[in-house]
């Protein structure tokens, strides 16, 4: 680790935080219906859909509308992927996806996971990328943000049933937040080298006379929303490592900015909607704290280099370079990795499968902590609020008072629902991993021997259930078993999680909002931030340390002992 490296990390984080402040205010204005510059388009959508954007929905109505739009989105995307071979805008002539792969991919993009069992330049047509996958990049992000807005409103007032109108939130977030940000970031990406063209792949003759086919496509626009929407699905198979998807360190800095800025901003939006900006800042502080610690851990691990290679005569000065491209540098790789896994993005600019054992464990553990650090757009905020409820509950147990959060009494029903939500992740991750490492048809997907093989499988279900989408890429994921079970894990992680969360929001909205008194436990100070961080760490640690010690931790020690597999 170097001082210059830390300066890079500090600069990018500072720029992200600086932008999150006005963006948080802007999203609150969008949520309040105070941003209207695309009103004609809004009006057409509402009229054609037959919805009244001013009519409030209770939690069930809101959740049902959300499920309906996602179900339709899934069907359309599945259809496009199954038929891409005969649909237009397919200059590379890729064939239609199999049912298994199309199911997995459609679920993956609808749930904001963007796990990819296919490689973009080989298996997706320009039409699929642009009108299928990229559209779901937008819509799954709008879904998450809309849900977060609804949950935030539960804390705003007392004694109400309505959490807002899903159609209005969904439409406004898409049109006023995601679309303009993507257009601007996308143009910057083109200027910095990311292609954007409908022309087909180019075949050239290299200086040594070999033939080389260079894939192209309408990439920049899609890559912009891929980061802003914390989707993470690469236009190209190797994601942000591809020289066209991550051409230089400035692009990397912008991508880190893009994948963290909305999750950060939404904390402040929450503070504004709930009527106390300090509450949002406390959540944000916990998120940023975890990102910094995780970045340091990854940076330290990778900068030390692989001792087994050092013993062969490789200079460790450059760090562990297997699976990494040169141009980003380790500090930005570390920050990118911490934000992409902390934020449920899942884009990668280095191959985690080739990280050193502890370096690879950090992204895995960040996902297992619940995808709330800072978590995906929207999903990170409502996930964090679940942990906040658990934290005040724990605090309440310690002092023997009924816990309150933002003036709302937290009672048995809310805690039961919160536990139901929190238990989805370990159930899906550990359950599927346990079956898949013993079932021969599943275990044959594992590439590496020894503890690393377990890490590959554990990472896959962690990534799917956490709706992250990054991978230990050695695993063969395009098999019927992996496609279906990973798809189910993604659905559980997204929808089975959010239904109890919406039920909590409904219950809290109906409660009276008690004014802050001298006896209230302040939930905006360092004491609460520490408690919240502790609850997240202890819950995640208890659930996942046993499996991590069999995978990456075991590999760390066998590696130090010089053992190979």
């Amino acid at each position: 680790m170097t001082l210059l490296g830390w300066a890079q990390i500090a600069l990018v984080l500072a720029l992200t935080m600086a932008a999150a402040v006005p963006l948080g205010r802007y999203i609150a204005a969008v949520a309040g219906g105070r941003v209207t510059w695309l009103r004609p388009i809004e009006a057409v959508l509402y009229r054609a859909g037959g919805v009244d954007p001013r009519r409030g929905q209770d939690w069930k109505g809101y959740a049902l509308a959300m499920l309906a739009v996602n179900a339709v989105g899934f069907l359309l995307l599945f259809g496009i992927l199954r038929l891409q071979g005969v649909l237009p805008l397919n200059p590379a002539g890729v064939s239609s996806m199999s049912s298994w792969l199309a199911f997995n991919t459609a679920v993956s993009f609808v749930t904001n996971t963007n796990w990819q069992a296919y490689s973009g330049e080989v298996a997706a047509s320009y039409l699929s990328q642009m009108a299928g996958l990229a559209v779901q990049n937008f819509l799954s992000a709008s879904t998450g943000i809309a849900l977060a807005l609804a949950v935030s409103r539960a804390f705003a007032r007392g004694g109400v049933q309505e959490l807002g109108n899903f159609w209005a939130d969904f439409t406004r977030v898409t049109l006023y937040v995601l679309l303009p940000l993507s257009a601007v970031l996308g143009l910057a990406f083109v200027a910095l080298g990311i292609p954007q063209t409908f022309a087909g792949y180019v075949t050239t003759t290299t200086l040594e006379g070999a033939e080389q086919t260079i894939p192209l496509g309408p990439a920049a626009f899609q890559i912009a929303i891929k980061h802003l929407g914390t989707n993470g699905g690469g236009f190209f198979g190797v994601n942000a490592l591809h020289p066209f998807e991550g051409p230089n360190a400035i692009v990397t800095a912008l991508q880190i900015w893009g994948q963290a800025v909305i999750p950060f901003a939404l904390c402040l939006t929450f503070g504004r909607i709930a009527g106390d900006i300090r509450q949002g800042r406390a959540l944000l502080a916990v998120m940023v704290g975890f990102v910094v610690v995780a970045t340091a851990a990854i940076y330290a691990s990778e900068a030390a280099g692989n001792p087994l290679l050092t013993a062969l005569g490789v200079d460790p000065a450059m760090g562990n370079m297997e699976g990494k491209d040169l141009r980003f540098g380790l500090p930005l790789v570390a920050l990118f990795t911490a934000t992409t896994t902390g934020a449920s993005c899942g884009a990668v600019n280095a191959m985690f499968d080739s990280f050193l054992p502890l370096g690879g464990m950090v992204p895995m553990f960040l996902i297992q902590l619940g995808e709330v650090l800072p978590g995906g757009v929207g999903s990170g905020l409502y996930g964090m609020l679940v942990f906040a409820l658990l934290a005040v509950f724990v605090a309440g147990l310690m002092v023997g008072r009924t816990p309150e959060y933002l003036g709302k009494k937290v009672q048995a029903r809310e805690i039961k629902l919160a536990m139901l939500a929190v238990l989805i992740l370990p159930t899906a991750i550990l359950g599927f991993t346990a079956v898949s490492v013993v079932l021969p048809m599943a275990a044959s997907s594992i590439q590496d021997g020894g503890p690393h093989g377990l890490s590959e499988m554990l990472y896959a279900y962690t990534s799917a259930a956490g709706n992250n989408g990054s991978a230990f890429g050695g695993l063969t994921s395009d098999t019927p078993w992996m496609n279906v079970t990973l798809g189910i894990a993604m659905l559980l992680g997204r929808f089975a999680y959010v239904i109890p969360v919406m039920a909590i929001a409904g219950a809290l909205a109906a409660k009276a909002k008690a004014p802050e008194s001298a006896g209230s436990f302040p939930t905006h100070g360092p004491l609460f931030a520490g408690l919240l961080a502790g609850v997240i760490l202890i819950l995640g640690g208890l659930q996942f340390l046993p499996s991590l010690s069999l995978g990456p931790i075991a590999e760390h020690f066998t590696m130090l002992a010089g053992k190979t597999f």
Binding site: L11, I41, G50, V51, L64, A65, A68, G73, L76, S119, M130, A131, A134, L179, L187, V190, G193, P195, Q196, T197, F198, A199, V202, T205, T206, L207, E208, Q212, I214, P215, F221, V238, L241, H242, F244, A249, L308, L309, G313, V314, D315, M318, N320, M321, E322, G323, K324, D325, L326, F328, G329, A350, D353, S354, P357, G450, F472, G473, T564, F565
Partner: protein
Amino acid sequence: MSILRPAATMVVGFTLILGVAAPAVFTQIAGAVMPHQAGGSLIERDGRVVGSALIGQNFTEARYFHPRPSATSAADPQDSSKTVDAPYNAAAGAASQRGPSSQVLLDAVKERVAGAGPAPVPADAVTASGSGLDPDISPENAARQVARVAQARGLQESQVRAIVAENTTAPVLGLLGVPRVNVLRVNLALDAAR
């Protein structure tokens, strides 16, 4: 059902807005304002496209600087169900995806170190990149290749070193990224210098 109508409307409407109209307009603007970048940063020599400035290509001849190892593969021409090693196959970027204590990785690195001159060897020279298409090498890696290239071309080492320096990119603002040498550009410059 009352809920399906708005759902279908939103999905279809946004597919037209976000999936057709917006990218079409965006592509037009990008192509008009920045045609070089939007088209893949292609490099021409004598009116012929020889590659992209951003995409690495394979070099094995002594007179050229060599890129990093690449783990890309291609379909076996004999048997399409199998794959064969095909370094810098830009049509399918790929990494080795080998874990840090993988014997396969260690064997590969050992073989590369054996052919890479005196130890310690710069890590980028003997490890496979993540994209399989890394266009750059480190200045340390380039410096170790100067003597070979100069000899093969009958040039002074100082001349070759100067060409390398001209094609070395410094970190942005002296801060972001690392110094790196673009292999295709340096090799094009060498050919032009002859």
